[in-house]
């Protein structure tokens, strides 16, 4: 395998920025993230099936025939004979009800409409603002730890890498909006990538720290130290990415729809994390250190 490790910061950063810009433009044109019921709220319909046993699959099939594919169906009631259907808001609920009841009455003649009501988002603005606040605090503390164990610029570069991975993940969720629906699980996926991204970066920064202190390395340009460190870490990077992808791709292939909605953003995040850890973060550190060096001399 012949692959020269060298500084490709400019083209790589440019590629990432282009991806982010595409997502930004799409969002501004009203084609932003495809938010699911957990975020938007929706309509809750309750029916009394009046039979002891029924299959929720029948209901989701009937809903699909009415053009509703994204529904959460649960069985309730003391005798477990009621069904609650949570769907995204539709333009005309009366039409949907009529269509659905017609389809269902064929197999469930005793079906009885109970009520229909609007439900708010499960993920409220409070949960999101809380998540952002906690994440910001976590990023600051991680920055402090890395600055303490490495140096300030490593900390800054690692956090830039983290923001990059999260931004790339969000961008692809926008770009692939026909395939990825954002539900509560997406928050978990995002947080996982935060941990994964930092992990990847630190392993390479640890190499840089080690190499930078070796005799005969100090006079080398930082860029070359990064090249060497990335190269030396490459077997580990590849093997870890492979083992991680093995599990998550298996989940994607075998999982139900909601698992796929969770696994796909994760796969993107993991790839973004590997990309930034090898091609961006180390060079950002070198750039920052060199800039500081020039300032100090001037």
């Amino acid at each position: 395998m012949k692959f020269e490790v060298k500084n490709r910061l400019k083209p790589c950063a440019a590629l990432s920025i282009v991806i982010m810009l595409i997502a930004l433009v799409m969002s501004m044109m009203g084609m932003g993230m495809n938010l699911g019921i957990d975020f938007t709220g929706g309509t809750l319909m309750t029916y009394d099936m009046n039979v002891k046993t029924f299959d929720t699959a029948d209901i989701s099939a009937a809903l699909a025939e009415c053009g509703v594919t994204d529904a959460q169906i649960a069985v309730t009631g003391e005798d477990k004979d009621q069904v609650q259907i949570r769907i995204k808001d539709v333009e005309n609920t009366d039409d949907l009800r009529a269509a659905l009841e017609e389809k269902l009455s064929a197999s469930y003649p005793d079906i009885e409409y109970v009520d229909i009501t609007r439900v708010g988002a499960v993920v409220g603005s409070e949960l999101i603002s809380n998540a952002i606040k906690s994440l910001t605090l976590a990023a600051v503390l991680m920055l402090v730890y890395i600055a303490f164990r490495f140096d300030l610029y490593s900390g800054i570069a690692a956090i830039i890498g983290l923001l990059h991975d999260v931004a790339i993940m969000l961008s692809f969720v926008v770009i692939l909006r026909s395939f990825i629906r954002v539900e509560t699980t997406f928050i978990a996926a995002l947080l996982t990538i935060v941990g994964y991204s930092i992990n990847n970066t630190i392993i390479i920064f640890d190499r840089i720290r080690e190499n930078a202190h070796k005799a005969g390395m100090r006079q080398l340009p930082r860029e070359q130290i990064v090249n060497l460190s990335v190269k030396e870490s490459l077997p580990r990077t590849l093997n870890t990415t492979i083992t991680t992808l093995i599990t998550i791709v298996t989940l994607y292939v075998l999982g139900v729809d909601s698992i796929k909605q969770f696994a796909l953003p994760l796969i993107i995040g993991i790839l973004a994390g590997t990309y930034s850890a090898n091609l961006i973060n180390g060079y950002v550190w070198a750039l920052l250190m060199d800039k500081r060096g020039k300032k100090a001399k001037a």
Binding site: A74, L137, A138, T184, G195, I246
Partner: protein, 421 residues
């Protein structure tokens, strides 16, 4: 036979004994984890660990209830509704129901769904009877309302008698100070849904926002009252409209498929490690088995509520858990490639890998701790799962992998090619 504890002197014998001991422990724990002990007998000693893990609403279902809020027609109704929702959410989070959901339904309803509870009556115990609490002066004017109480708990007064200690928020503390100043020598009644539960006489101005409610309580009554006050600390009057059990929204199939995917994923990762790292890979596979068991056990013990993404997170964690092993093995390989002998390659490889492993994991643990401490709802649940898996993977890599590698080295398998490719 007589000297039971004497250590065999031959390192090879010792290595065999250690390895067999470790494998036996793993096998026994694995059996207990999968099948439990004494299950189905009169005394159910231990459940299989997986069954002991509490599952979220999406996987196991739970109970739900709908409350109607009394619309007082005031302009603040909207604000009061959202603060009621957030008070209920944080109350559930505090009790460990991180995967419970509180949503608005229609204009004046609140819907609460709590996973892993099968008896709808439990809801009352968990979120309490919503009631309205007021502090009223002798003229019948409201001084404080329940929403201004930040915390209340059963305590003992200076005579050692049960009482309820409460703490007010800033606004409440200010109002309480003013009211106690204006009412010295008079009584201030504490009413719950219009009924006076305590009417202490004001002896002095209370400025710190902390106070006690005394009365002729038993310890249990004090505890109940504290719960009532806390549950009454809602800005709106709620009536329970309906309460019922609710089935899993994703169903058994989702969980089964995720577990199947997990099993296949683990098998593939193990196979990959074996092919890539040979003997080291075998060590990693044993360490991985131990990792999975510890994580499952800790999840069962901490009562973390597992949702489908939680399960997926653990499966992903398995892929990531071998990372520390990979870091170590690559370092060992580097040491061997410069011609170092086996035992010292293992030692040096470990010491070089250690700083990277610790720094990488500590940063992730920092994130998990912050998210756990400040997050609400599912974020907190996720942080717990993340923290457990990261710390466990660090432990298994640093201690178990190291121990196992030393054992294999003691076996006298000297061919370095067998250790790493």
């Amino acid at each position: 036979m007589a000297k039971k504890n004497a250590k065999p002197k031959n390192p090879r014998t010792r290595a065999i004994v250690s390895l067999v001991a470790i494998l036996v422990v793993v096998a026994v724990c694995g059996y207990v984890a999968l099948f439990g002990i004494g299950k189905g007998t009169m005394v159910n000693y231990l459940k299989p660990w997986g069954e002991a893990i509490s599952l979220g609403l999406d996987l196991r279902g739970g109970v739900y209830t709908v409350y109607a809020a009394e619309n007082d027609g005031s302009e603040e109704f909207e604000t009061k509704m959202s603060s009621t929702v957030s008070i209920l959410t944080s109350r559930l989070t505090r009790q460990g129901f991180t995967e419970a959901t509180v949503t608005r339904q229609g204009a004046d309803r609140i819907r609460v769904e709590i996973p892993n509870v099968s008896d709808p009556n439990e809801i009352l115990r968990i979120i309490g009877t919503p009631a309205q609490l007021y502090f009223v002066d002798e003229n019948g004017e409201n001084i404080l309302e329940g929403a201004m109480i930040k915390n209340a708990q059963a305590a003992q007064d200076e005579n050692g008698l049960p009482c309820v200690a409460f703490e007010l928020n800033d606004e409440g503390a200010k109002r309480f100070a003013e009211a106690t100043a204006a009412n010295i020598g008079k009584t201030i009644s504490i009413t719950l849904d219009g009924e006076t539960i305590s009417a202490p006489t004001v002896n002095s101005v209370i400025t710190g926002g902390k106070g006690q409610i005394t009365g002729n309580f038993t310890a249990d009554e004090a505890k109940n009252l504290a719960t009532l006050i806390l549950s009454g600390a809602l800005p709106l009057n709620l009536t329970q409209l309906e309460v019922s059990a609710i089935s899993a929204t994703l169903g058994v199939e989702a969980l089964d498929k995720a577990i199947l995917a997990g099993a296949i994923g683990v098998a593939l990762v193990m196979l990959f490690m074996l092919l890539r790292y040979r003997l080291c890979g075998l060590v990693a596979d044993i360490a991985l088995t131990i990792y999975v068991m510890i994580v499952v056990l800790l999840l069962a013990l901490t009562g973390a509520q597992l949702t489908l993404p939680g399960v997926a997170g653990i499966i992903l964690g398995i892929g990531m858990a071998v990372d520390a092993n990979v870091v170590i093995f690559e370092r060992i390989r580097e040491e061997m490639s410069v011609g170092r002998p086996l035992a010292s390659s293992i030692k040096m490889g470990f010491s070089h890998a250690l700083s990277a492993i610790i720094d990488a994991n500590v940063t992730t643990v920092i994130a998990a701790v912050v998210l756990y401490a400040f997050g609400t709802g599912s974020i907190r649940g996720f942080a717990l799962t993340l923290g457990i898996s990261v710390i466990t993977s660090m432990f298994t890599a640093i201690f178990i992998t190291h121990k196992l590698l030393d054992i294999f080295a003691d076996f006298g398998i000297k061919n370095q090619k067998l250790y790493v490719r």
